[in-house]
Structure formats: C-alpha cells, structure tokens
Amino acid sequence: MRTSTFRSRALAFISATSLLAALVVAAPATAAATDPTCNGATPVQTCTGKTSDGALYEMRVPASFNGTVTIWSHGFGTNTSIPGYFAIDSSPQIAPANSAAIVKYLTDKGVAVIGSGFSTQGWNLDEAVKTNAELVGVFKAKFPAAEKFVAWGYSMGGGITQAFAEQYPELLASAAVMNPVDSWDAQSKYFVDLLWLLKNWFDPSIKLTGYADGAAGDMQMLQDIGKYTAMLKALQAGVASGAWPTTSSASAKALQAAGIPSRSALLMVGRLAGISAQSSSFDGIAGPATAAQTAWPLAYAPALGTLENISAVIGYALLGARDMQAKMGGTVFDNSTTDYSKQLSQADRAVYNAAFSGNTAIAGMLSTLNPLNPDAPRIKADAAALAKSKATMYQSTGKIKVPTVMMIGQHDPVEPAGIVQRIADLYEPEFVAAKEAAMAASKDGGYVPARRQLAVLWSVTPKTWSKFTADGLPIPVVGTPGTGHTNFTAGQYKLVIDSALAAAKTGALPVNLNYNHALKNLKLTIDRSSLYPWMKYYDNN
C-alpha cells in the first residue's frame, strides 16, 4: 500500500508565543491536563484527553502492552480557516495519516500508540515539543508499566521529533525522523527565496509580505495563491516556446528580449532556492525516441522537474510565510543584502548550462537580481518581528542524543534531502570520535565497539523513470520513489518504526546484512558517501 495518498494536513501558523515560555520547563507539566478517559475495550482500549495547553490526545493501549510506546507527531496543519479552502484540524493523530493498518501493526506487537493533534497548527514546533513531553508524563501516570517511549513523525512532525529528542533525550529511548523540516531560519529562506524569485520575475503584483491582520490578510494571501497558480500555468505553457508570462517584470521582459527562454529563468529560480530539478515525472536522463533524445533531458527536463516540484511546495511556502508573519507580528524574512549569484553553485552552472541557455544568459539573469536593481525590490524584515523570531524560535542543533532512524526522499520538494544530510554530516565526526575512543579504551583491556546512533535511510529513485508518447511528449508519472513529499510506502513506515523499536530495546540500531537486504527490497539505501547540498541558509551562516 502506498501511503502517499494519506490525507495531507493543511498549512498555517498562528500567534501563540505565550506558550513558548513553557519550553524551558525541565519536566513535563501535567497539572492542567485532563486524565485519560479510557473505554476499556479489548484487545486494544482507546483513551482520550487533553493536555494542559488544550491539545487533544489519543492513546491506543493493547491488553498485551509490553511497556513500549510510540508517540506520533503529525505534519503541517493550517491555522487559517477559509471556507472552501482551508479548515483547521486539531484532531489527534497517532500514526502516519492515522493509518489503522499501521496502528494495528504496532498494537499487535504489544506496543501502545499515542499522539495528539497539538494545541496549535502551522509552524508549531515549539508548542508541539512541549505537548509531546507532557503527553509522555500523562501516559506514564496512567500506565505505570510504560518503560520506553519512541518518538516518530514526518515533515513538520519530523522536525518536531528531532527537536523533541534534542531537548528531552531523557524521555525517549529512540526516535524515527522522516523528511523533517529544518529550523525556521533555514526553512523560511527556502520558502521565501522561492516565492520572491517567482514574484520578482514573473508577477511583481504579488503581495507576499505586509498582509493585513486576520481575515483580510487571509483573502490577500488567497489572491496571491491565485496569481502563483496562474504564473505556474503560464510557465508550463511556455516551456517549449520559451514564452514568459504576460505578467512578467520589466527586467524579465528584457531577459526575454535578449532571447532567454522562460524555462531557463524557471530553472534558475529552482537552483537558487535549492529545489531539486528531478521530480516524479522528470528524471533529467531519459529523452523521447525522437531527434530530441539528447537535447530533451538537457534543455527541457530540468525546468519541467523544477516546475513540478515548485507546484508541490508553493502552497506550504506561501502559507508558512504568511502565518509566520502573523505569529511574529511582522515580516521576519530579509533578503535586502542577499547575493543570489552566490547561491548558484559551480556544479549547477556546469550541469545545467544548456538548460540555462549558456553562461551569458546566466550572467544576464543574475544581473537582474542585483540588490540595486529598482525593478527587483528586496524584502526588508521588520526589526521587532525578526528579534522576536530569533529570541523565541527553537533552532535545531542537529545533534543526535538518542538512537535515531531517519528517512528522506532524494528529491523531496518540500523538505529537501539536504536537511537530513546536514544532521548526518554533523553526526559523522561524533561517531568517528566514538570509534577512536573505543579503540583507545581497548588498550586498557576492554573493547566495546562504538554504536552508531544515527541511520539515514534514503528513499531512492529508479535509474530512469521519465516516459514519453510516441510523439515525444512527456507522460506524467505519479509516485516515483525518491520524489514527492512524504512519498513513503507502508512497508517503509513499518521498517522505520521497527528499527526505532529495536533500538529502544537494545540501545543500538539494527544495522546488519539482513537489515540491508530489507532496505533493498523497500528501495531504501544507507549511503553515507553521497552528498546532498544543505539548505542555502547555511551557505551564509
């Protein structure tokens, strides 16, 4: 069963900074929480309640409870309610998309399965960590037999799980982190670079910042969504001809007049923001069985792959940017001094040179992004909002403090693989040091091998996957492994949580030959040598 069709929780942010102070408490606070109300059913009883911050929670506890508990953190959800578009959903989530099959899979093992809907949605990492910590205490109070807690989550919930493990390692035996968000600073740069670059070239009438408060701001944002949608449709229509959207800026029209096709600019937006140019339908390798077989993957596929990935992320990006503005009381993104030319890597210049239409076109496009170009007005952050963000938002350290399994698609458009790569890169020297320490200790007569505390499972693509009609037109491909957001199979989810459960039991990740065989069957791989670029934020920080 492919779980990519799982219901996606929508997106939004809310001002809830009053809750942030609770983060500093060392122990879970349960005073204001309601005790779980259990139905006593067999073989699995269901308990519900509310944490002190109002988050609704649910617990499924098997009669055969073995003392191990999974605590699930769900993905991004909207805090904005616009009838017909977005609705707030704070119902409890206890497994990926509340999959009954996965819940049964776990409870059949004697594992209790719990999770909440969180007290607020949107960028709720800080609030959610606090809720999770409290929920652990609530469960332990109700079920004293609980011994080991395993945190897991994907997307926003992946970031929450990582932050939970970083801040409360004493509460957890292990963690499973799937395609996690990065810290807000890194994530917002990814989102807003994309939005600003698209607006700058293809439709300067888009508002993007300075939305009004409340419902009026919601409608302004909705109007922007409509404009981005129209822009992406125009770009898709212009991929072959090179035509630019009619809403393009004066600078963009000058690029058009210079013979630079819009697909080159579209690809440039993607490369500068850090979006993969390989997507579910476009591999950048295969070409149609026509005269364009070689030219197609070089000139067109990168732009189309970028476009498909932008379509997948742009909703998250816009709602995230608008809601963080509401949460912090002003614009927190600032690109007033950003040198975008530095965000284009040397490898990208070479690999995508034909798709960019050559070095002259690259230089021309980058020149229009000069901060001094009046036709490309930059975003200046609101100082107070920025200060508030810096002072209150948790910044992930990327440290591994409990045995952790991570899973990520190579070309996830919403949470790029570089987010996990960063954590893996930060961990590797620690493991090397642990191995050296183990070797040093051997001189005293005892040798205990260092245990790897982090295993990254990469969901990888097939060798090629693009398909074409006999006329040479691309055929959309849905669900290509290694692409898309949260595009994991039930088998992959089970392997990940089984790995974390095993680590909770033994203190070590179950990495061995049999495990590698299982990974291969599920199109996953552990590869500590391949590199995915970190988020662009880290280039300057």
Partner: protein
C-alpha cells in the same frame, strides 16, 4: 540475525588489525570503471576510447598483468548527460565495486560527479579525465581527480600566438561555446594572456548548434564582419554545422579548430571537403607518423586486441591513458590502495612514460596533465599532420600569464614493448 549491538567483545577482534579490503582489488585482479557517451549523437569519436583502453589492458594482462593482477574495465554509457554520469559513477563504485575511475569524459559530467558522488571525500581516484577545464586544478575541490588534456586556457594562449605569428594582418573571428569550456578559452585569449583581438565573436549556448538556421546566422555575421581567420572553440557538432553552413554561404576563411571540436571522426573530409587544410593541434604524435615508436606499438596492439576498430586519434588517446594507468598501478605497488595510487600521481606522475610530445605536470599541486600542443593541418584522409616530414614544433605554456614558449622537452624512450618497467 545477529545485531551489531550483540558483538560486544572483551578484546579487540583480530580483524581490526588485518589489512583493509580495497574495493576492486584482489590478489589477481584490478577492476576499473569509465563513464562516457557510447551511443547517440554525442558519442562520435569518444566511444572509441574504451575499446582502445581495453585493448591495452588486454595486452598487459597477456604479458603478466600488473604485479600479477589482471585489469578489467567496466564501461557505462552516459549519453553525455550529467545525471546519467552521476548514476553510472554511483553504480560503478557501489555495485560494480571498481577500484578507480579512469578516462571519464566531459567537463560538466565530471563536475557533476565530483559534486554529487563526492569522489574526493571518499578518496576514490578519477584519473586522466578527458577535459581541459582549468577548474579541475583546484586541489581542494577535486583532491582525487586528474585531467589529461592541456587546459583550455593553455590551448587558447597557444592559438593566440600561432595566429598572431601567421595571420597578423588578418581579421580574426571566434565562435565559442557559452559555458565553462568556452569561458576558459576566453581567458586564454584575453589581453592578459593570449591578447588576441577579434573582429567578431559569437558565444553559442550548448545545443543551439543543432537548431535549424542558427549556424547559418553565425556564418552570416562572420561573413559580414569580413572574417578571414575563423577560430572555432566548440564541440565537434558545432564545428560540423558551422562548416556546413559556411559551405552553403560560400564563406571560406582559414579554419582553426580547437582540439575538442576538431573531431575528424564526425567531420568526414570525404563528405565535408571544406575541412581539409584546417589547422588544429595535438599533444600526441600524429597517428600516421611512420617513425613514432609509440604509434607503431599502439597500432600493433590495436590490430591484435581491438581489430575491428580503426587506429585513429581517439584510439591513441585511449591507449595512452591506459598506458599511464598501468604504470601508475605498477608504481603503487603490490599493496595497492586508492591512497597509494593517488600518491604515485603526486610524487612521480610527471615522470610516467607516455606518448606525449609535451611533459606531464602531475604533482602535489597540479591535477593537470599535458601543458602544450603542436599545430598541424588535416590532410585528405582526415588525419592531423604537422608536415610531410613529421617533425613537430611543440609549444608549451601554463594556465596563468606565463609566456608561450617552444618546448625543449625530449620524450624519453618507450619502455620495451610498451610495457611498464
């Protein structure tokens, strides 16, 4: 199933002191890998490299191998696509378990591979890459890569000197590819390097040469500018389409073709006689040189071990790279490791015997192979020759602002039978 965690030992396992296993190396074999275009429109000429390399490896294997090990070469077709080159290299390393990459081709492909596969951090050698992009000499970015061709900066400097000496009063024009390959050449032509002035200069984006009418527009501009000497610093398909467009427009300049675009295998002089008499350059002897010992030896090896393939300039380049590889492997010793192979290139790479008429420049501070060229013209059979007597005037320079000078390099004698010492 035994978990690693269960392997808690009270003493160090003896295996902790055993020599580490090296991928691609056994007591009897060494496995190497190469990715390059083997099929399709971008493969002309290049696809002859692996056959020639294998022929030389087979010859060495038949004569005892390298330190008792037989060499195999795993070849993968990347269609000149960077993403495919990445995939191929990952497969060669991860699945085929090759010891090292050798002779991979293309600037963009190898930049992509270095970036995504990260050969440097993994310590995997990629030797004798067929590119002249000067950026590969960045030891920090490419610590395990080496190129074989002179840099494009060097090439442009040499062309500048050649043109200024022979065509000082002529209008010089330039067609170049609008990427790192072409930009490297622009550096070599600029006032701080070759100091060559152009009456007209056109940068073409890669792939545009195949668009109907585009090469005609270039020729039209060059013709209108009154160009008398036409330098083409592009890929062979750009040369081909430009020459064809020139023939159609009766544009007949003196052609000077950069080494990359002078692939005579795709510009057949029988069907494109316009190319006869064009000037180009090489760092290896002419393949029709009747007195060169390397040419004679390699031609014989090719006839025996690669009998279906014509011995041409690509065969010579491929065999020469294989010859260098064998010597480097031999010098790395019986306890062959990736580090020991790379150390050979750093310490004595410049001293490896080879067919080149200019010296190699491998050292701890240089990833670059050759550093010069001789100029010649294409004859009626499509072979580049220096003159009727096959005497070479070789020029050498650097990628900086150093002078272009006549080389005094005297190539050492070939090891007996073309086998490593």
């Amino acid at each position: 199933m035994i978990a690693v965690s269960a392997l808690s030992l009270s003493v160090l396992p003896t295996s902790a002191f055993a020599a580490p296993k090296v991928d691609g190396v056994t007591s009897t074999a060494i496995k190497l890998g190469i990715t390059l275009p083997m099929k399709g429109s971008a493969s002309f000429g290049y696809n002859q490299l692996p056959g020639a390399m294998k022929a030389y490896f087979d010859y060495v294997n038949a004569n005892g191998g390298v330190n008792g090990r037989k060499i195999t070469l795993v070849v993968k077709d990347d269609g000149y696509l960077p993403k495919q080159a990445i995939q191929n290299t990952q497969d060669l390393i991860g699945k085929d378990k090759v010891f090292a990459m050798v002779g991979a081709l293309g600037t963009a492909n190898n930049q992509a591979v270095a970036d995504a596969v990260n050969l440097g951090r993994r310590g995997i050698p990629s030797l004798f890459i067929n590119t002249g992009f000067s950026g590969f000499n960045d030891r920090k970015a490419y610590p395990t890569s080496s190129t074989i061709l002179p840099s494009y900066v060097m090439e442009a400097k040499l062309i500048s000197k050649h043109v200024k000496e022979l065509y000082a009063d002529k209008k010089i024009c330039l067609l170049y590819q609008d990427d790192d390959f072409g930009d490297d050449a622009l550096v070599g032509f600029d006032k701080d390097h070759g100091n060559l002035t152009f009456a007209s200069k056109i940068a073409y984006p890669s792939l545009s040469q195949g668009v109907a009418g585009v090469p005609d527009s270039w020729v039209s501009k060059f013709k209108a500018a009154g160009c008398e000497v036409q330098i083409v610093f592009g890929v062979s398909s750009a040369t081909l389409y430009t020459v064809l467009a020139a023939a159609k427009a009766q544009y007949a300049p003196k052609w000077i073709l950069g080494s990359v675009g002078a692939d005579i295998a795709s510009i057949n002089p029988a069907t494109t006689p316009y190319i006869i008499g064009a000037t180009s350059m090489s760092f290896l002897p002419s393949v029709v040189d009747p007195k060169d010992e390397y040419v004679a030896q390699f031609k014989e090896i090719n006839a025996t071990y690669n009998p279906k393939a014509k011995f041409n300039s690509w065969a010579l380049i491929g065999m020469n790279s294989a010859f260098l590889t064998v010597q480097a492997l031999n010098a790395a010793g019986k306890n062959l490791t990736r580090a020991s192979l790379l150390a050979v290139l750093d310490s004595s790479g410049a001293k490896l015997a080879n067919a080149g008429l200019v010296p190699l420049n491998y050292s701890k501070s240089s990833n670059v192979g050759y550093n010069g060229y001789w100029f010649g013209t294409f004859n009626k059979t499509g072979d580049l020759v220096p003159n009727d007597a096959f005497t070479y005037t070789v020029y050498t320079t650097d990628s900086g602002t150093g002078a272009v000078e006549k080389s005094s390099y005297s190539r050492p004698d070939m090891p007996a039978k073309g086998l490593p010492n």
